[in-house]
Subunit: 151 residues, 4 copies
Amino acid sequence: MPEFEPRDPDFDARVRASFERQAAMTTLGITIVRLDAGMIELAMPYNEAFTQQHGFIHAGIMATALDSACGYAGFSLMPADAAVLTIEFKTNLLAPAKGELFTFQGRVIKPGRTVTVCEAQAFAHDRGAAKLVASMTATLMAVTGREGIQQ
Amino acid sequence: MPEFEPRDPDFDARVRASFERQAAMTTLGITIVRLDAGMIELAMPYNEAFTQQHGFIHAGIMATALDSACGYAGFSLMPADAAVLTIEFKTNLLAPAKGELFTFQGRVIKPGRTVTVCEAQAFAHDRGAAKLVASMTATLMAVTGREGIQQ
Amino acid sequence: MPEFEPRDPDFDARVRASFERQAAMTTLGITIVRLDAGMIELAMPYNEAFTQQHGFIHAGIMATALDSACGYAGFSLMPADAAVLTIEFKTNLLAPAKGELFTFQGRVIKPGRTVTVCEAQAFAHDRGAAKLVASMTATLMAVTGREGIQQ
Amino acid sequence: MPEFEPRDPDFDARVRASFERQAAMTTLGITIVRLDAGMIELAMPYNEAFTQQHGFIHAGIMATALDSACGYAGFSLMPADAAVLTIEFKTNLLAPAKGELFTFQGRVIKPGRTVTVCEAQAFAHDRGAAKLVASMTATLMAVTGREGIQQ
């Protein structure tokens, strides 16, 4: 796996500050487990309030955590003055999101000045066993200044 | 647009019963606005608890509503004993999810015995104007009996 | 469907000139049937040389025509000095690509200064009947100058 | 990476026989470099006949090879009497397909009785250096008997 050189030496503080401003993360109980240049790991507890009709976590909620994992992996490599926007993401649901805890590993596949491509995987943890339950590929765009808030 | 013949004449009650079992819909305040064979429209109010770092609705939350719109459009055409699973979905984020209310229109593009393909669009309603802010293509699988609960 | 105002009044000649430089289009026998600002229709005859194991056109060849349909729909709205790059595309194969002739309708869903999102649909024509066999969503990037050739 | 147990001990001969029936592979000069249960590597030489407007291999042609890489990785794990169909694929174009030779590594991420999910990566080889230029995620369906030919 490639190792990346961050353009912003303070990427750790910048990523954590932005993550804290995502109210959705707080509401879903999602936290940063690990953070490095170009990669991040998030964790989310099971919460019945976010389930689908069979009692498993809703695919869209899994996508919410996967999207943040992709977004912050990419954001960690961006310059200090850039905002990050998700252009698109694609998720494969490989197995039901059934477990007590879920972890999400995001990493940059291809960094770029404007466009960055990331991947993330979701694991369900159930009685000590971890199982791959979903994957995502996401395309991010770095924007600066007012453009980042409008787009 | 093609019109579909539902295999289950009671599809309306079946879709609404399953939708009510999705705790995530209740938590997010998502409701069914319109339902027909092969199509559904959902609505969701703005809720600061589900925002990203710029105060707009998180892309994954938009995907949650879009996924349910696709899933229930497809589910409406399935036989009475089938369960529906999302295999994959892909979302393009076209503009920030900025507005007071969001609506989601899902429809079946290609029904099938095993695999059904659906599309959905998300609109942001802001001071009377509606704007297309996201689109989704989703692939669903119809499963029966225990398989539907396990997979 | 939205109608678009082209930024380049000579978009028709510019699109056709770029299309002619795509050797892959000539090799596959793909031609422009219709072209307007933000939309294009292409046609491709059946050719056994590009089939998969069941004698139908290979999904990737269908994607080649769909990608060009998306790309040139988007390119028609770009400024005169821009080059177009596909960032990503997603295709759903709805039915086998079985027929004598295939047509591909591409159109812009969301134009943008940097990023443009397009959709395209593929139809198989067999003994007078047209059938939807594949769909694509594609994200394009407009680049200028040397960047367009390098990226 | 997980290792898979093939259900068909003769998967190698079965995959190669099907691959040879894909006329598109012969036309594009694509060959099997390596084959194992759940994984395959393909190679394709540069061919000006399949380029886009900048002289690089057309994204759809890259997708053709990536789709076959995903399809045959998945097909290798299917039972002897199954046919494989691609339901959908998504490709990220990470860099221009510029090089003398291209290789494509496909592998199964999640095998299943009906649905199998695969990933593939494309590398461009240019003056001794290999560069990741595209990635794909694909969903396959195993079908048996007449259904496999019709769908």
